[in-house]
């Protein structure tokens, strides 16, 4: 993962609350088996609307999304984070994030920065008055600067450290492999195992047919 210290880029005001991951990337785009190439799928249902913010030239090269509260609710699809990253976003600012989305962002190096809603409103005003205004996100000092607005943001300390160091979670966990092995030795024998597989006798499943 790339290290994240500060980022400066065009801010994109997305004045909507409850933007769920079905809106960030509809299910039809989830059939791919790769981890990249999702930029065309980002906000796919809205991209056909010429009024949509990313279709306006001043914002189209944006890399800091400024969204309404409860961003990233719904489905756990990490594709939502991949689509934002593939489009070029480095950070999303909102007053509230869904838990799974926030977690997924941290794993992928997309900063989910939590600001007060009042500060989000101030930033929206700047971005809408002067489209194309750049935002600087300073992870070290946990501040966002947009025009004359300077606002603090929250991000949990562990995620901040990992983003700044560019660390891979699996590698960090495998440093503790001995502890995992010791823990496994203490697990009760009643705890389930999927293997060897047990199930009722197999029965042939009849295929339903289209009704005429």
């Amino acid at each position: 993962m790339e290290k994240f210290a500060t980022h400066t880029g065009v801010g994109v005001p997305l004045r909507r609350s409850n933007v769920d991951t079905d809106q960030i990337i509809p299910a039809v785009y989830l059939k791919r088996v790769t981890r990249t190439g999702f930029e065309d799928a980002l906000f796919a249902a809205w991209r056909g609307d010429p009024e949509f913010v990313l279709n306006q030239e001043a914002y189209s090269s944006g890399s800091v999304l400024v969204a309404g509260p409860d961003f990233g609710t719904g489905s756990s699809r990490e594709h939502a984070v991949w689509a934002l990253k593939d489009y070029g976003f480095k950070a999303v600012l909102a007053s509230r994030f869904a838990d799974i989305f926030r977690g997924n962002s941290g794993k992928q190096g997309l900063l989910a920065a939590q600001l007060a809603q009042d500060d989000i409103e101030q930033i929206w005003k700047v971005l809408e008055t002067e489209p194309g205004t750049e935002i600087t996100v300073d992870l070290e000092n946990r501040t966002v600067t947009c025009g004359s607005v300077v606002a603090p943001f929250q991000v949990d300390e562990y995620t901040r450290w990992r983003l700044m160091e560019g660390l891979d979670d699996i590698g960090l966990t495998l440093n503790h492999e001995e502890e995992i092995t010791s823990f496994e030795a203490t697990r009760g024998s009643w705890r389930p195992k999927a293997l060897p597989a047990k199930h009722l006798p197999s029965v042939e499943i009849e295929a339903a047919r289209p009704s005429v």
Partner: protein, 493 residues
């Protein structure tokens, strides 16, 4: 020290306590896998030269992409077929158990785990699917994860996690006739909002929850994520133990006794402190429907479509304006007047045998409304077999419904089961997001009973709109008690 149910399960899985703000490293007992959120995780393992640490704690099924018709033919959609083929190849390469389309144990991952007896109290259960919260009905700590976390669990059988806050949701009293566990959870979401549970594990408790069957509890926990919570839990009791005993993977002999003794300790202590508490009275509940485009935009069926101008909060007003427009509704009009094109009965929320029985009970001997398409999609192949053994399929077909093979189907429209633009559904699923069931589709979330009544009348309806006795016993037909759902007995089909 006094603890909540969630805290007890958490404590029993800490491999390594985090310090200086670092998360705890939590052991994962059961990892469920499906085709959509796993390909990139397996690819990550391959690139790093890693193995699946515990294939014996991992189970894969095919559900999101699978067609519900012609399942013996090659999947027509090539990208869907590729994704399913990829899961099969990955399962083989990494030694993971898989139940593929056509297999009697195939089905929606959140039905397959419980019906095999793999989901148990006191476990940590994860899956790359937000509705993993379903398994919390057993007193497991179960939550959805992203693909990076799927890879992490495959490689290490653990996850680094910061502790959740806890919220108690107490539901007192008795559900009135015609109201179901779906109405409980829709009412909870409308009350606390789609963000109300963010950062929390919800614990559902109280008299009304205790009285629910295991399957009805699964419906409640399933939609915890729609309230913003990653997990919802219900303390295990005799209902839980009865459901589990004798299932293929349930503990046996001394293991069973040891397990039950432990499971009985899995309840929040009387003096445990929750970060937040919410109380709901079941006696006041009516059948609930959603009118908007997030699951918090719900109202009792007897209400009217909201008038956005009357909403004080600006964000909510803008959201309501947008939702009313997208849904093509008239502000102030009765919800009961809304005509639908499709009724979808299925999903990990309401595709289980009890759901199908209650629907069949209402539909029996009737015909569907003209111009309404009715899809009945069992949550798993075993549920389908059980329904057929009970003759429910005949009732659905006589009614004019389509009786399909198992899978996620129209809940999210990744397979051909989709709404056309502008089409409207009454759906027993869990999400009414814009385009969720097909681009431009309009979804009203409802209980199975409301879905059944709506299929008969063609407009959003409840049992009260039918000439059924109000106290209709939904657990049996014609006074004849139904055989309980007993997966221990092989079905005679």
């Amino acid at each position: 020290m006094a603890g909540t149910l969630a805290e007890k399960v958490w404590q029993d899985h800490v491999v390594r306590k985090g310090s200086d703000g670092a998360p705890d490293l939590l052991y994962i007992d059961l990892h469920l896998v499906h085709e959509v959120t796993s390909p990139q995780a397996f690819e990550g393992l391959r690139l790093a030269g890693r193995k699946v640490r515990r294939p014996d704690l991992t189970l894969a099924t095919e559900d999101h992409n699978t067609p519900t018709l012609d399942i013996d033919l090659p999947i027509a959609d090539l990208t869907s077929r590729t994704q399913i083929d990829t899961l099969r190849k990955n399962a083989e390469e990494f030694g993971v158990r898989i139940h593929s389309l056509g297999d009697a144990d195939q089905g929606i991952v959140h039905q397959v785990g419980p019906q095999l007896g793999l989901t148990m109290p006191g476990l940590t259960v994860v899956c790359g699917d937000s509705h993993t919260s379903t398994h919390g009905a057993f007193g497991a700590l179960a939550f959805g994860i992203g693909t990076s976390e799927v890879e992490h669990v495959l490689a290490t059988q653990t996850l680094p996690l910061a502790p959740f806050k806890t919220m108690a949701i107490t539901v007192n009293g008795d559900l009135p006739p015609g109201a179901t566990s779906k109405d409980i959870i829709l009412a909870i979401i409308a009350k606390i909002g789609t963000g109300g549970g963010q950062g929390y594990v919800l614990e559902y408790r109280g008299e009304a929850i205790r009285k629910l069957s295991m399957e009805a509890r699964m419906t409640v926990c399933n939609m915890s994520i729609e309230a913003g919570a990653r997990a919802g839990m219900i303390a295990p009791d005799e209902t839980t133990f009865d459901y589990l005993k004798g299932r293929p993977h349930a503990p046996e002999g001394a293991d069973w006794d040891e397990a039950v003794e432990y499971w009985k300790t899995l309840r929040s202590d009387d003096d445990a402190v929750f970060d937040t508490e919410v109380v709901l009275e079941a006696d006041d509940l009516e059948p609930f429907v959603t009118w908007g485009t997030n699951p918090g935009q719900g109202l009792p069926l007897s209400a009217n479509v909201p008038v956005p101008e009357e909403i004080a909060d600006e964000n909510e007003r803008v959201a309501a304006e947008r939702a009313v427009e997208y849904m093509g509704l008239v502000p102030g009009a009765p919800l009961r007047d809304i005509a639908v094109d499709t009724v979808f009965i299925g999903s990990c929320t309401n595709g289980r045998i009890e759901d199908l029985r209650s629907v069949a009970k209402v539909l029996k001997g009737r015909k569907k409304a003209d111009n309404v398409r009715v899809l009945v999609v069992p949550a798993s192949a075993r549920v389908r077999l059980q329904a057929e053994a009970e003759g429910l399929d005949e009732i659905f077909l006589d009614f004019g419904a389509e009786w399909r093979n198992a899978g996620c189907s129209m809940c999210l429209g990744m397979n051909p089961d989709q709404l056309a633009p502008g089409e409207r559904s009454a759906s027993t699923s869990n999400r009414n997001f814009e385009g969720r069931q097909g681009k431009g589709g309009r979804t009203h979330l409802v209980s199975p009973l409301v879905a059944a009544a709506t299929a008969i009348r063609g407009t959003l309806s409840s049992l009260a709109d039918l000439d059924l006795p109000e106290d209709v016993d939904l657990t049996s037909f014609d006074g004849t008690p139904l055989a309980p759902l007993d997966p221990r007995v092989p079905l005679q089909v």
